[in-house]
């Protein structure tokens, strides 16, 4: 989930922070300090996150486009200049553009808005923007909610009391609500200083940027892994199940399925599964995924040399063209597979299915997938020539059965013509003739379209009179029999108009 850091560089950010003696700080310095801390954390624990840095005042500027170069981001922070007034609305337009250009409108995104809680004055101020929300035309819409799913974190270089003295807090809350409500407003706890700002960014890190560590199990084989990006809680139906579902930290493989059988399933999110070395000496989980290759060659080399289940699993999934079905929680599943980024690089990936007992109709209920060893005979065949998938639905869809629809005149005409065509080829086409005739009869009865039955009966009688002399005598018998039966059906007499009843070919015998 990419991050946009939106940094307020208006003049109000240069307000000095009153400290007892020593140096004098501006709010901007505190913000930069906090952001540096965030970037350092990401560089070591959340390195794969794409982050962009934007600065805004009455205008906005993209200082660093999306990338993973945290040094560049920190450099840009140290070269911030000061500009005029705060104008959040235009900056949000900027965010919207920048994100959509890079990631489209489906990719969820995190926005970290760093400001001091003085939200501008006059036109373009947040207060002004929010006041005239409803009086806008389509062309001047407020940028929130963004078209992409958003998590909005508002970092105020101010404490809550200060914000509540004005309507700043209310306006920020409204802003968060408009963004979709997913996110949080962070304020400084206590007097403004390095320490308290650090604490505030610390809570942001805990809230939004803590790596997701889990253990991947396959029976007794297991591996510690980091799942990136961290899987977010999912709400399936806010009415029936309002509590969000979260992914377990124990990921249990339940079995394996061929790629052809799982067949490009829809997924709600994709994640890298990176094996990590757990440092047993320290209580904390080691940070060393692949991030510390350069910094600690010895440690990562050690980790590289001890066999890891993820690598084994990845290798075999890749070679066999299979996926592993993995349980993420109660009635929630996903799949593990090898994903090649280029010819050389490939990775273990995990995709999450929609929570529920039957995320993929063609697999049936996941809870009812069992080991093949229990089947009477191997459902894949001895030579892997068969497959128990896909699971067939009980009822065929309309396009898979020969349904009758006469909404367009052409549909009706085609069906009548089919009968007539076969009528002319009697007795060779006796079976097809009656099949088509019965199909028409059924539909006409269901639709209460008795007039059609009479009409077709007349057509058949006419065909009978038009038969050439060379025609087989059976043709005439069948035609008049069919016509008679249709007429009986059109009378509505329950004996002849039963839906399940079929007109049978007349039994004739010309051999004797």
């Amino acid at each position: 989930m990419p991050t946009v850091v939106l940094m307020d560089v208006s003049l109000s950010m240069t307000r000095p922070v009153s400290l007892d003696g020593s140096e004098e700080f501006q709010r901007k310095n505190l913000a930069v300090h906090g952001l540096n801390m965030l970037f350092e954390h990401m560089a070591s624990n959340y390195r794969l996150e794409f982050t962009a840095l934007m600065a805004f005042s009455s205008l906005w500027e993209l200082l660093v486009p999306f990338n993973r170069d945290y040094n560049a981001l920190q450099d840009a922070l140290s070269n911030l200049e000061d500009y005029d007034k705060t104008c959040i609305e235009s900056a949000l337009h900027g965010v919207s553009n920048v994100v959509q250009q890079e990631w489209g409108s489906a990719c969820p995104c995190q926005v970290v808005l760093v400001t001091d809680g003085s939200l501008g004055i006059g036109k373009g101020s947040l207060r002004h923007s929010l006041q005239n929300l409803k009086q806008r035309g389509d062309d001047k819409k407020f940028p929130l909610p963004f078209p992409f799913p958003t998590k909005m974190y508002i970092m105020c270089i101010a404490n809550a009391e200060e914000l509540q003295m004005t309507d700043a807090m209310e306006n920020l809350e409204e802003l968060l609500r408009l963004s979709g409500g997913d996110g949080q407003i962070f304020t400084v706890d206590g007097p403004l200083c390095m320490k308290t700002v650090q604490a505030m960014f610390g809570s942001l890190i805990d809230y939004a940027y803590s790596p997701f560590h889990a253990v991947l199990h396959c029976g007794n084989l297991s591996s510690d892994v980091q799942v990136f990006p961290r899987p977010e809680p999912v709400v399936m139906d806010e009415e029936v199940e309002p509590i969000p579902r979260t992914v377990n930290t124990d990921l249990e493989i339940v079995g394996f399925i061929e790629i052809a059988d799982i067949s490009s399933p829809p997924v709600i999110s994709r994640h890298l599964v990176l094996p990590i070395a757990v440092n047993k000496d320290v209580d904390e989980v080691g940070t060393g995924t692949t991030d510390e290759l350069e910094e600690e060659p010895s440690a990562s080399q050690m980790a590289g040399k001890s066999p890891n289940f993820c690598v084994l699993l990845h290798g075999s999934l890749k070679v066999e063209g299979m996926v592993a079905l993995v349980q993420l929680g109660p009635e929630w599943y996903g799949m593990l597979y090898s994903q090649a980024d280029s010819k050389k690089k490939s990775n273990l990936m995990m995709s999450l299915f929609e929570p529920g007992s039957e995320p993929l109709p063609w697999l049936g209920k996941i809870s009812h997938l069992g080991p093949i060893s229990e089947a009477a005979e191997n459902p894949y065949g001895e030579d892997d020539s068969k497959s128990p998938f896909p699971v067939q639905p009980q009822v065929k869809r309309s396009y898979a059965q020969n349904v009758t629809v006469w909404i367009k005149a052409s549909g009706l005409q085609t069906d009548v013509q089919k009968i007539l065509r076969n009528a002319r080829k009697l007795p060779d086409k006796t079976q097809t003739f009656y099949k088509e005739l019965n199909r028409l009869r059924k539909a006409a009865l269901a639709f209460g379209f008795w007039e059609l039955l009479k009409g077709v009966a007349e057509l058949l009688e006419r065909e009978c009179t038009l038969l050439p002399d060379s025609a087989h005598p059976d043709a005439a018998f069948q035609l008049s029999h069919a016509a008679h039966q249709l007429k009986l059906a059109s009378s509505g007499d329950s004996q002849y108009a039963a839906f399940e009843h079929n007109i049978q070919p007349m039994h004739t015998d010309f051999s004797s």
Binding site: P147, G219, E239, L369, P371, I372, S398, A400, G448
Partner: protein, 704 residues
């Protein structure tokens, strides 16, 4: 859409009163004469559908689309109203099909024009519809049971679609009032019943149908709130084509559907088989399949076109002829069932049959810039066709570190093929709910249990295992992981064990890897000891399962025990080797800079290993084959050995001496004492110590 939105329950109330037997006055020519037969034949007069026929076929089309796209849990109850109401099906899942409804409709037949119009009314049906909405569906029941204390989260909403011929706007108002009253009454009843639920929201969609060429007596009205419980909208539509397209629009609105037109489908012409023309087919599906277009606002760029009725939009996607049938895992963000709008037209059925036969088609989003973007894929799974949405944006996971750079990435001898075999054995298969014993474990839990059994002892790398590199062990290894063993299985296991004993007696080489363990590989008898230990470890993890598993373990224990003297001799040999091992380790620590000998040795050893493996491969298939070839490479290993053992930098003299000694030692049998000596010292009477249990430690250590 919420699980229990108004779309969960739909009641169709269709007017069956005498006036519905009136003709729609839309004529259908069904006798299309071909030119050659035209002379002298009077064509059949065109037929025309009654209002009833129009209402029924359009409502069936509504249901067809609904059932195609939501085969489950979007339910329809069909009511026909004349002098009384007739309920044609129930909320039950097995009653939800167009076939079921058509059979019931055939039984009802068209309205009787001679029936007394005074006795007939749509009201009977509407009252019945409200009662039906109070009835609990299977899904509502299941969810209420599952949620227990929070059962009130299960809502009861529904929609009534009334197809009738109303007399006036006042008549319509009267119907609305009546429904409102009935809801209040029924909700009171529902409050004191378990099988009924009060209606929280009801949406009335009244469709007034009138014949072509007449003026409508009822005016259209947008949705309006009659009460907090009831909203109502009125559509006044001419029978025939207009009614059909109205209901098509309604089904899209009611079930969040959208339309996609697949364009440029190449199809063989019926008449000229060698030419092909391009066709378009329109499909309906959940509108989320267009989410990306809606959000990015380039709906119009994406080839949207407004159709003739000006109400419905469709998005055009271009067919891309599939090149290969390669199996690929696409990154797909959604898959939605489809239903063709014109199901039995030739282009539609050509497309659906093509897909049902197992081919997938990628669809391209036409863009003004001319760039190609594959945005969707059509594919069938088990007789159902789905429109898959493919991700066409930049991935946030691009350029990840390769797995080879991470933990365990440097290890090169993973048992990839063996694990592949393991995965095949642990593939899944659907177990029908009828054959599943509800008291027992769920199939998926049994699958997990099987994985647990199969991985109790599963070394991940080749050099960690001996037994899994031996063909001879395969029968036992495959059987022992089973939950239960047959008598025959036990026999096979025992045979495997005897076979191994036989190999040991013949001194067949084992595919023991020397990677990781410094120095030459262990001696042959040591190799067997390692193998037996490993086999015992494997079988021990399963011995607790059944008596038969236990018997296999007992067989191993019995077979590997040796006559005392022999065992003794071996132990001593082992001890010696171990000490060598230890001293070697010291050396390697002291000499950080590898001597040339060592590095050469490692190169040779590698070669040796590479050679040794295929050899043992041959041998493990036939345990009876002789053992000779292996001798030579082993010599090389021993030859280099002394260089290792010396402490400090190796002098030319010591190398020479070692070499000569080694060469000489091969010419005669070494004295037992000298051979097992440590630093040329040999402890006498050491068996006395061993009898006091010194060997425990050694055994433990040697297993790795």
């Amino acid at each position: 859409m919420k699980m229990f939105s108004v779309a969960h329950k739909t009641v169709f109330v269709v007017d069956h009163c005498p006036y519905m037997s009136e003709s729609s006055r839309q004529q259908v020519e069904c006798d299309v004469l071909t030119k050659s037969r035209a002379q002298g034949v009077i064509p059949l007069a065109p037929v025309s559908k009654s209002l009833w026929t129009c209402a029924v076929e359009c409502s069936m089309e509504y249901c067809r689309i609904l059932y195609d796209i939501y085969p489950k849990d979007k339910l329809v109850n069909y009511v026909v109203s004349d002098s009384e109401f007739h309920i044609l099906n129930s909320w039950r899942r097995e009653n939800q099909s167009t076939h079921e409804l058509m059979a019931a409709l055939a039984a009802v037949g068209p309205p009787n024009p001679r029936e007394d119009p005074e006795c007939c009314s749509i009201l009977h049906g509407l009252v019945a519809a409200v009662e039906l909405l109070c009835k609990i569906t299977e899904l509502q029941h299941e969810k209420r049971t599952a949620l227990m204390d929070t059962a009130e989260r299960v809502a009861n909403r529904g929609r009534i679609i009334c197809l009738t011929n109303a007399k006036s706007d006042t008549h319509v108002r009267m119907l609305e009032d009546c429904i409102q009253e009935t809801i209040l009454e029924q909700n009171k009843l529902a409050a004191c019943s378990d099988r009924l639920m009060a209606i929280q929201q009801c949406e009335l969609v009244l469709v007034h149908i009138y014949p072509q060429g007449e003026d409508t007596l009822v005016s259209d009205r947008l949705k309006k709130e009659i009460s907090p419980l009831l909203t109502s909208e009125v559509h006044s539509v001419r029978a025939g084509r207009h009614l059909a397209s109205k209901l098509n629009i309604l089904v899209q609105q009611h079930f969040d559907l959208a339309s996609t037109t697949i364009t440029n489908i190449p199809m063989k012409e019926e008449q000229h088989a060698n030419t092909s023309a391009n066709y378009d087919v329109e499909l309906l599906h959940h509108r989320d399949a267009h989410l990306e277009f809606f959000k990015s606002g380039d709906l119009h760029m994406a080839g949207t076109s407004t159709r003739e009725n000006g109400l419905k939009e469709t998005i055009t996607l271009k067919w891309c002829t599939p090149r290969t049938n390669s199996i690929e895992l696409h990154y797909c963000t959604g898959a939605y069932r489809i239903s063709p709008t014109d199901v039995n037209s030739r282009p539609s059925s050509c497309l659906t049959n093509f897909l049902l036969n197992g081919r997938s088609v990628l669809l391209e989003q036409p863009r003004k810039s001319g760039s190609k973007v594959i945005s969707h894929m059509l594919s069938s799974h088990g007789g159902e066709i789905f429109l898959h949405v493919l991700n066409s944006n930049r991935s946030t996971l691009e350029d990840p570190p390769s797995i080879s750079e991470g933990c365990g990435g440097r290890v090169t001898d993973y048992r990839i093929t063996d694990f592949g075999e393991f995965m095949r054995e642990n593939r899944l298969t659907p177990v029908s709910e009828s054959s599943h014993n509800p008291a027992g474990k769920l199939p998926v839990e049994r699958a997990k249990a099987q994985l647990e059994r199969h991985t109790r002892y599963w070394p991940m790398i080749i050099s960690q295992t001996t037994i899994f590199n031996m063909q001879a062990v395969v029968p036992l290894a495959n059987l022992i992981v089973k939950e239960t063993l047959t008598e025959e299985d036990v026999l096979t296991c025992q045979k495997t064990i005897y076979n191994l004993v036989d190999m040991e007696r013949k001194n067949d080489p084992l595919p023991i890897s020397t990677v990781g363990s410094r120095g030459k590989g262990p001696k042959r008898d040591e190799q067997y000891r390692i193998m037996w230990n490993e086999l015992e470890t494997l079988v021990k993890t399963h011995a607790g399962a059944t008596d038969r598993h236990q018997r296999v373990l007992e067989c191993i224990v019995a077979c590997r025990s040796k006559p005392p003297e022999e065992e003794e001799r071996k132990k001593r040999g082992r001890k010696r080797e171990e000490r060598e091992d230890r001293s070697e380790k010291n050396v390697s620590k002291e000499t950080e800079d590898k001597s040339w000998a060592e590095s050469e040795r490692s190169v040779r050893l590698k070669g040796l290993l590479e050679k040794e493996n295929p050899e043992s491969e041959v041998i493990k298939d036939s345990p009876d084959s002789p053992e000779p070839l292996n001798k030579k490479p082993r010599l090389i290993a021993e030859e280099v050995q002394p260089a290792e053992r010396a402490k400090g930098p190796v002098t030319l003299l010591s190398m020479w001496t070692n070499r000569i000694t080694a060469a000489n030692s091969r010419k005669h049998q070494e004295f037992f004492g000298r051979a097992t000596s440590v630093n040329s010292k040999f402890e006498l009477y050491q068996h006395l110590k061993e009898e006091n249990g010194m060997d425990v430690h050694e055994n433990g250590k040697a297993s790795r």
